[in-house]
């Protein structure tokens, strides 16, 4: 595999007008708790082209992981998908039956969960776990073909062939994480969702894992959704950034627009809270606390913490408006220009 420096690889050239490989429409998820109904995902829509990388950021509880689980149809009771569609290619995942969805997982859409490295079976060899996954989807393939596929996948995440015969405890955290990525790409999915793939790893390993994801994404041409709250990682890795707040998308912009000219006040606060080498000793957090999903503030959910709050924000919820530039912002400040 030839190593291109990251800087030369981006941005992924949008030379041809492509039809989006992933379209999420009005996705809505609620959790029914004893204290009432919590709306974890409220009317979320976006689309993604093949080869595009989307970063999804927000505080804990903003609905990032719920989004991933809903797309995989892995929401468990008391949670429920209330409505919406998730198209991968032409197939609506929400409309599939259980067997169809089982087949779609891993082959159409793969999910690398948070702390994935702890999800490997400790008493099975890495190779056996990978082969299990392939056999569940391709029962008619010969053993040697399946094994070949697994070994190729391990090689594409830069792991030595010997890893195939190893147990998870023989691997370091970064290696386990790369095994999980290898499993994720076994069947060349069109969409890969990685939920905080590096949150437990140190910086060097983190960079290595992210570069691995970048490489395999290039090889299989999949769209990638990277979920996380590390804006630095987003700046290094993604093409587009989606900011979530209290279960709603508040802004979707290209990574350059997001870092140079964020529109939504919450996105602005996120960007200005970032540390850099020029503002030593300045700690600028976002005042206030993330709202409870059981009691989402009226109007715009961000209004109690917003620096540019207006009267209308308290009563009316801002619509998600596509700006001329193709950016999407949900804020009354930009109503007129929408």
């Amino acid at each position: 595999m030839t190593e291109l420096p990251l800087a030369e690889r981006r941005p992924s050239a949008p030379s041809v007008v492509r039809t989006p490989v992933l379209r999420v429409k009005s996705l809505q998820v609620s959790y029914y708790t004893d204290a009432g109904r919590a709306t974890a995902l409220d009317d979320v829509s976006f689309s993604l082209n093949a080869g595009e990388k989307l970063g999804m950021v927000g505080e804990s509880g903003s609905g990032k992981s719920t989004m991933a689980l809903a797309m995989m149809r892995m929401i468990k009771p008391p949670g429920r998908i209330e409505g919406g569609q998730v198209f991968v290619g032409d197939v609506d995942l929400i409309g599939l039956d259980a067997e169809g969805m089982r087949n779609a997982r891993l082959s159409r859409i793969a999910y690398i969960p948070q702390g994935a490295m702890n999800s490997l079976n400790p008493v099975m060899r890495v190779g056996a776990q990978m082969m299990d996954a392939v056999k569940a989807h391709l029962p008619n393939d010969s053993r040697s073909a399946v094994e070949e596929r697994c070994r190729r996948s391990l090689a594409s995440v830069d792991l030595a062939a010997g890893v195939f015969r190893m147990f998870p405890h023989e691997l370091s955290g970064g290696m386990k994480q790369r095994v999980c990525i290898a499993i994720g790409i076994l069947l060349n999915p069109q969409v890969i969702i990685a939920d905080e793939p590096t949150s437990a790893l140190d910086v060097v390993t983190q960079r290595q894992v992210m570069e691995t994801i970048d490489n395999v994404q290039r090889q299989v041409g999949a769209a990638v959704i990277l979920i996380g709250h590390d804006m630095g990682l987003m700046a290094q890795f993604v093409d587009k950034v989606a900011v979530m707040y209290a279960g709603r998308l508040v802004e979707v912009s290209t990574v350059r627009e997001m870092f140079t000219d964020p529109k939504h006040p919450y996105a602005k606060a996120l960007i200005s809270s970032l540390p850099n080498l020029n503002n030593k000793g300045v700690f600028q957090g976002i005042p206030g606390l993330a709202p409870s999903l059981l009691r989402i503030p009226s109007g715009c959910a961000f209004h109690p913490r917003c620096a540019s709050v207006m009267d209308i924000c308290r009563s009316r919820r801002p619509a998600v408006v596509a700006q001329d530039s193709g950016r999407v912002v949900a804020c009354h400040l930009f109503d007129a220009r929408g």
């Binding site: 370091s172 910086v203 390993t205 709250h229 630095g232 996120l270 809270s273 850099n276 300045v282 700690f283």
Partner: protein, 336 residues
């Protein structure tokens, strides 16, 4: 002299041995020396990847484990030989904030428990009212509203709130030294700033010295004055935090700083391919040499610390023309 030292680590090493017949040993920390002055409260960062020995150092400082060799002197006394009363004082004056704000709470108790136990244990208050005042004062100092916190169970609070309660608990005891082991690595970016600010206020306004243990050099840069970079139990580079982060000299520090995902589109990850940690540690010579892009023949020998400037030293043969710095005098390059 030694009276004025808050903490003195004299050449401490920690070796973990396992197995009885085919004993194998891992050196988690080797020949580490450090002095913190009593009248100059500072924030010192100890940085490194997992396996660098930074948590071992925290455990040693807190007296949870004893060093294999060397001494830890706290205010003139070796901490392994403290008497009962002295040990209580040590336990009160040296406090810790750990990485995981979720794991340190007992889910069956209200969070008040975490704050009332140390008050009772160390007899910090004469009456309930005084105890309540102290708790409220500590909670307010870390930017929490006492009425939001008291009477709640841990699961009702966010990670950031819980982590700040841990800082409040430490503050309650009026410590002289705080060991903060990755206090913000599990907290949202927006709350990270609040906790770091709380820590730096603790140093500035309450005169607490802080040893900040982390792998995150961005936060280290913002909060600390000096930094020690560890790799596999040995000091790679040390000095003033501005100098070390803005102009790292040791190849390992450069690798670490190259790998920081800066939230800046024009500051990309380094273009040099990196070698993973699993390429193994060198048992002889420089610990980093199997991963080092500038490895030379001489790296088969263990490099001493070389003094690069008044406020920077690196353990690397690239700088063999500079003066050697005895490991025990490491503190000389660390500004207070």
């Amino acid at each position: 002299m030694s009276l004025a030292n808050l903490l003195e680590l004299r050449n401490i090493s920690k070796v973990y041995t396992r197995g009885l017949i085919n004993a194998s040993s891992t050196t988690a920390l080797e020949g580490f020396s450090l002095t913190l002055k009593e009248e100059e409260p500072t924030i010192l960062t100890v940085a490194g990847e997992s396996g660098s020995g930074k948590t071992t150092l925290a455990m040693l400082l807190l007296g949870f484990i004893t060093p294999t060799s060397g001494q830890i002197i706290y205010r003139g006394k070796d901490i392994t030989t403290l008497s009962g009363d002295e040990k209580m004082t040590f336990r009160r004056e040296v406090q810790a904030v750990f990485q995981d704000p979720f794991a340190v709470f007992n889910p069956f108790y209200k969070v008040d428990h975490l704050l009332t136990v140390p008050i009772n244990r160390f007899k910090l208050a004469r009456s309930r009212a005084e105890a309540r005042d102290k708790i409220e004062e500590a909670l307010t100092a870390v930017g929490l509203r006492p009425e939001d916190i008291q009477g709640r169970f841990p699961h009702q609070l966010s990670g950031g709130q819980r982590q700040r309660i841990n800082v409040a608990r430490a503050l309650l005891l009026k410590p002289r030294l705080l060991i903060a082991d990755e206090p913000v690595s599990m907290v949202d970016a927006s709350l990270r700033a609040n906790i770091l600010e709380t820590l730096s206020k603790l140093q500035r306004d309450h005169g607490v010295s802080i040893i900040y243990i982390t792998h995150d050099l961005t936060t280290a840069f913002h909060i600390s004055k000096s930094i020690v970079v560890l790799y596999r139990g040995a000091v790679m580079e040390a000095g003033d935090v501005d100098t070390v982060i803005k102009s790292p000299q040791h190849p390992y520090t450069r690798l670490l700083i190259d790998s920081i995902p800066w939230p800046n589109l024009d500051q990309r990850w380094g273009e040099r391919p990196i070698k993973a940690r699993e390429t193994g540690a060198s048992s002889v010579g420089c610990r980093f040499h199997s991963r080092c892009p500038s490895a030379m023949e001489i790296c088969e020998q263990r490099p001493p610390l070389f003094r690069l400037s008044e406020r920077q030293a690196a353990s690397c043969h690239l700088y063999r023309d500079n003066d050697k710095l005895d490991g025990e005098r490491l503190t000389e390059v660390l500004p207070a």
